[in-house]
Amino acid sequence: MEPPPSTRWQEGKVFAEVVNARDMASPTPNLVEELFLWIKGTRLYYQAEMGGAPTEQERQMQKQMLSALISMGEWLVKELRQHDITAKADVTLADVEATLEELYVSLRVSFGGMTEARCAQVLDEVFGAS
């Protein structure tokens, strides 16, 4: 039997549910609050990722959380390009864009499906055969 999901992934799942609910419930959200929430969510995500290889149930939670963070991040970047209030959160628009870019990297790395053989082939091509 699969062990229960870690507390951090469970928190991540709750976060994703809150974000998805807010999207529908709040037509004019407060940009600064949304930015703080997103930054907190990304921190939560990376903390959960530190916990080692996720179980199948945790992978579902991970995907759900990544999707919510990416969707919210896309919306934030679009809004911030028009009303840049990033200084209020002590970041820059470039930091927000870099964070969003990194979430896409996490999605590809965790769910991209590169085979072990292909991984080895790329590493050998780039760094030379081991």
Binding site: D90, T99, E102, V109, G112, E116
Partner: protein
């Protein structure tokens, strides 16, 4: 630089990127990407492909760093 050292340098920069303060993200991303660009220069691979190929190694790297951190914390807590 030997293969393992080059890989370790990228993993360390990547680790810093995912653990840095939000206000350091762009700087850390640029540092990691500069190492990736150096590595893929003259090959047919792109950044994204290299990151995906390094993914399993990065997972192990993060776990090792976490264990190091926990051991360090335990030593500090044991000190009188």
């Amino acid at each position: 630089m030997p293969r393992e050292e080059r890989i370790e340098a990228i993993l360390a920069a990547w680790y810093e990127l995912v653990n840095c303060a939000p206000s350091e993200r762009a700087r850390c991303r640029d540092q990691r990407n500069a190492l990736l660009d150096q590595a893929i220069a003259g090959t047919r691979s792109c950044r994204q492909e290299l990151l995906e190929a390094l993914g399993p190694r990065f997972q192990d790297f993060k776990l090792a760093r976490r264990k190091e951190h926990q051991a360090k914390m335990a030593r500090v807590l044991r000190q009188p």
